[in-house]
């Protein structure tokens, strides 16, 4: 018999979640004794909220948000893994007006989702740049202003937007915030303490099945996205070529010598110190590495 | 029933506090119209005739005094379907055809249309609007609209009938015809009628008693009994006795 487990993804169906689709379609979760319900995300779905409200057992989050909630509001979260060892967000610009590193941003207009403003400001400070010297404006996922030159750069997933820009005939340049000191995980796997206590076995099973699926996906990132064209990726308004690009680009950000989802001491340390720079005080206790250890 | 179907106002007073000024529209109006009687009210413009009628209908509250319609308070009499009214302004519902406007009282009183359908047509014919049943009020002339209001006032066989200058917009000939018809219907239904009019001759022709009002404050100055036999016929208009009464009323009206 299988046990029910619900996961809340952090965004709409795109290559960011290929591993889970593969696991579902290949029956890896079922094999692990899980009846997994997969919930897509979106801008109004706040992943931490869904597990607090009990609508999902497990979710993928931005660690800054999660750790801030634990530290400042005593939210009962535990991070039990991370999909991205390196956060894919970065500064994307046009090759014709390139921004290669943080200091190039001085005097430029940078579009940033309001959520990420503190991250960008932290990264700028780490690199000795006064955030006031960069004109930061809101960003809502549409790269048109970048293409038209209304903004000089945007904060976006480096795994995704360069493809779009390329398609639009504008070659892109990008760098990760991670590579300039803002060393965060992303899509951290988060559960509530209650679920951790009650469903520990299921969570371990989920990690195990997911790791297997992701490894299979990343073995050749071009293989799997096309297989979901008529299922998981149907009707998203995106293209399979885009997903293949995305899947390939994210491979180095996900893979870890310690295995996919790994929470290494070094990684946690980097993550916490980066957060420290924006005034978020996290601790090792917010992470529970013991589940991964069981795989 | 007989006594009960009358109209009785006792010491009614009403003062309007408008922005123009304070107007004592009615002072100590006492008026008893026995059941089955026909009373005409005549008086200068603004003397309170319409206000008397609106108070008797329960549309306006008196400041002083009491009102009984068929032995009940006005609203109760209205609810019982005893009253019928033609306002000074025709007050037709613009989206309803002539026929459906005449039917409004039936609908308010929840009288089955099936039974009263013939009556509706009869009333429309009576006021000479045969053929205009489906016309909307906006497609009628001023006088035609007033006639619809008359038909509507009569359609329920009211025990107590109020009419506020119902024939003001009609030509002489039609007005005479309507006078005669009104007398006939009133006699047939045995109703108590209160008619506000500016036509002295009309008042004398129709009424048992003519109430003359003066303005500032609105008050009753004289009640004149009209002795002519019923049914009265148009030749009465040429009768010297008729003219004498008319002249007397004109004098009273004049403030003589």
């Amino acid at each position: 018999a299988t046990s029910a487990l619900t996961m809340q993804a952090s965004w709409i169906n795109d290559a960011e979640f290929t591993g889970y689709f593969l696991g579902l379609d290949q029956g890896y979760y079922a094999e692990a004794g899980l009846d997994l319900t997969y919930l897509s995300g979106g801008p109004d779905v706040i992943p931490e909220s869904t597990i607090i409200a009990g609508r999902a057992d497990l979710t993928l989050t931005s660690p800054d948000t999660t750790i801030k909630a634990i530290a400042e509001q005593g939210a009962p979260f535990k991070i039990i893994g991370t999909q991205y060892q390196k956060n894919p967000i970065g500064i994307v610009s046009l090759a014709s007006n390139p921004i290669h590193e943080p200091k190039d941003l001085v005097g430029k207009t940078l579009a940033v989702p309001p959520v990420n403003v503190i991250s960008v400001e932290a990264m700028l400070k780490m690199n000795g740049i006064d955030p006031a010297s960069v004109n930061i404006v809101p960003y809502a996922y549409d790269p048109t202003p970048l293409i038209k030159g209304e903004i000089d750069a945007s904060l976006d997933f480096t795994t995704n937007v360069p493809y779009t820009l390329d398609q639009a005939g504008a070659a892109a340049t990008s760098f990760l915030l991670y590579d300039f000191g803002y060393t965060l995980f992303n899509d951290t796997v988060v559960v509530t303490e209650a679920v951790l206590a009650e469903k520990r076995d299921l969570l371990v099973a989920w990690l195990r099945a997911s790791r297997k699926a992701w490894a299979e996906n990343l073995a050749d990132p071009t293989v799997w996205p096309p297989k979901f064209a008529d299922s998981h990726f149907k009707g998203t308004g995106r293209t399979i070529e885009n997903e293949v690009y995305f899947n390939s680009a994210q491979k180095p950000l996900i893979e870890s010598p310690a295995g996919i989802f790994a929470l290494t001491d070094d990684g946690i340390e980097k993550c916490l110190s980066a957060l420290g720079a924006v005034g978020i005080v996290g601790t090792h206790e917010m992470f529970d590495t013991s589940l991964l250890a069981e795989i | 029933m007989s006594e009960a179907a009358g109209i009785a106002l006792q010491g009614v007073g009403k003062t309007f506090r408008g922005r123009g000024k304070v107007i004592e529209a009615l002072r100590d109006i006492t008026l008893a119209c026995p059941a089955g009687s026909f009373t005409a009210v005549i008086g200068p413009s603004g003397c309170g005739k319409s206000t008397v009628m609106r108070i008797a209908l329960g549309l306006e509250a008196a400041d002083l005094g009491s009102v009984q319609i068929a032995g009940q308070v006005p609203r109760a009499a209205a609810r019982a379907g005893l009253t019928g009214v033609a306002f000074q302004d025709a007050a037709l519902l613009p989206w309803r055809s002539v026929r459906r406007n005449v039917e409004v009282p039936l609908e308010v009183l929840r009288l089955p249309q099936a039974e009263h359908g013939a009556r509706v047509q009869q009333m429309i014919d009576l006021v000479g609007l045969n053929g205009y049943e489906n016309a909307l009020p906006g497609e009628l002339s001023g006088g035609m609209r007033q006639r619809v209001a008359i038909a509507r006032a009569l359609v329920t066989h009211p025990q107590v009938l109020f009419m506020d200058e119902p024939f003001g917009a009609l030509d002489q000939i039609l007005r005479r015809q309507m006078n005669v018809e009104l007398q006939r219907i009133w006699a047939e239904t045995g109703s108590t009628a209160l008619l506000v009019t500016h036509g002295i001759d009309e008042a004398v022709f129709l009424a048992d008693r003519v109430v003359v009002m003066h303005a500032n404050p609105g008050r009753i100055v004289e009640v004149i009994d009209i002795p002519f036999d019923r049914p009265r016929r148009p030749p009465l208009f040429a009768d010297p006795a008729f003219h004498k009464l008319c002249d007397h009323i004109a004098e009273v009206l004049h403030g003589g």
Binding site: A9, I12, N13, S40, G41, G42, P43, D44, V45, I46, E48, S49, I52, A53, R55, T65, A69, Q73, P114, V117, I136, V137, P138, A140, Y141, D142, T144, P145, K148, E150, N160, V161, L165, Q167, A168, G235, T236, G237, R238 | R54, L57, G58, L59, R75, A77, A78, A80, G81, V85, F87, A90, A91, L93, P94, W95, V104, E107, V108, L136, G138
Partner: protein, 523 residues
Amino acid sequence: MADDRAASGHALRNVLILLAIWEIVGRFGLVAGGALPAPSAIAARLWIDRGDYPPHVAATLIASGLGFVIGNLAGIGAGIAFALSSTLLRIFRGVNIVIFALPPIAIAPILALTLSGMAPRITLAALGVYFVTMTATVIGLSQTDSRAADLIRAYGGGRYDLLRLVQVRAALPAILSGLRIAAPNAVLGAILAEFGGGGRWGLGAYLLGSLGRAEPERLWGIGLIATAIAGLSYAVFALLSTRLVGATRAVTLNAALPEDKAAPGSLRHRLTIAALTIALPFLLWWGFIKLTGVPEMIAKTPFAVVDYLVLSPGAESARAKLGAALMQTLPITFVGMAAGLGFAFLLAISSKLFPRAIAAFMPVALVTQTMPLVALTPLLVLVLGRGVGLTLWVTISVTFFPAFVTLAQGIALVPRSAEEVPRAYGASRWSEMKLVTIPASLPYLFAATRLTVPRAILGVMIAEWLATGTGLGNLLNQSRGYLDYGMIWSVAAVSVLLAVVFYLIVVGVERRVLKRLGMATAE
């Protein structure tokens, strides 16, 4: 009838002219360096994407359709109840405004969290519909001709008979104007919920996926399909309303003064009502949280908000942030209010003076009502920059439409005999407007103002969120990212509170002015 046909022919011609201009502008990239695609390019893209649309359109149709029906039933029902009892109206006034002024950006996540399946979409669609239809119903019912009321009462008819025989029919054009506004609101509401709610189907979901493609043709295609859905419904109700309005106009002018609304009662009675009015929104807020069982961390009760802003250790800094944001938002809100109302007013007047031009403008107006601003912002930013111009544009676009339709309806109901007075003296159209049309439709002008004022702050917040990165809108969005629910609810509460204040100011002015002019107030 023939006139009708000629007029709609001219309107069609004007629409074609508009399309041709758009095509040229798009083809030659005359606006925003080509960020505005030509209609033909949009059509071509639509053709390519035609396979994608059916499930999305179906989902949006269902959600917006159900929301439309539910919201309108509630709106009409509540409108009737409020017209019957001004006490009820007063008690619920707070709740009503809250429903109208609640920022969708704030409630969408709560809905996504507390409801499942189609429910959040239907709810957001219904919420977008309720207030306008309720307002339209109340204004329609309140403008009943007192002569008709006298007639019904003279035959012993009660409140219900008046409603049944007179008021509902007299209010039909007004109610239909509510339904006309409701159509785009329902569609937009559904799309916004689809956009953020994480579902896979619906035009909103499709839009979100398409947003990152830098392909304006696709975005416009989605927007225009949404407009078509709303436009169809709009057109049906507009047609019905033009058919009905002629026979609803009074034939002769009613000079009678409206009855004094039931005396306000004793001071104690009034205070009780005022207290209830204020308490009810908080009570419902509190009740909603308790009933849905949303966790405390997310759902802040009124007490929690007070705690957050006054008592908690971070209260001071929270207040400072909130205050600073408010000071950024407030000034431009007043300008936006005036601009939205002014634009609506100009349009409404023009719809009387130049009916064909305005008929041709209607499709454009509908696009602005159904095209989600997230999709439009890049273009707007390119054309208007990220300053006051853009904020005003966004504020006007979220406020003008209900005001315009309501006002135009009022203008259409002015009795012909009133207009003929100046006309008989050779008055110009404008002087006729000034002397008769505008004063006669003042009750509708105030209703329009009541529809505009609470929304203005929302418009400014949307602009802040999408483009300027300042003020309450930005604060709200940032707080969402930090799971700072205390701040989210505080911002929502403050913005709604402001809306209520603006609304009450209008109600006060309205009551005074209409009373002086001897007109019936709706509120």
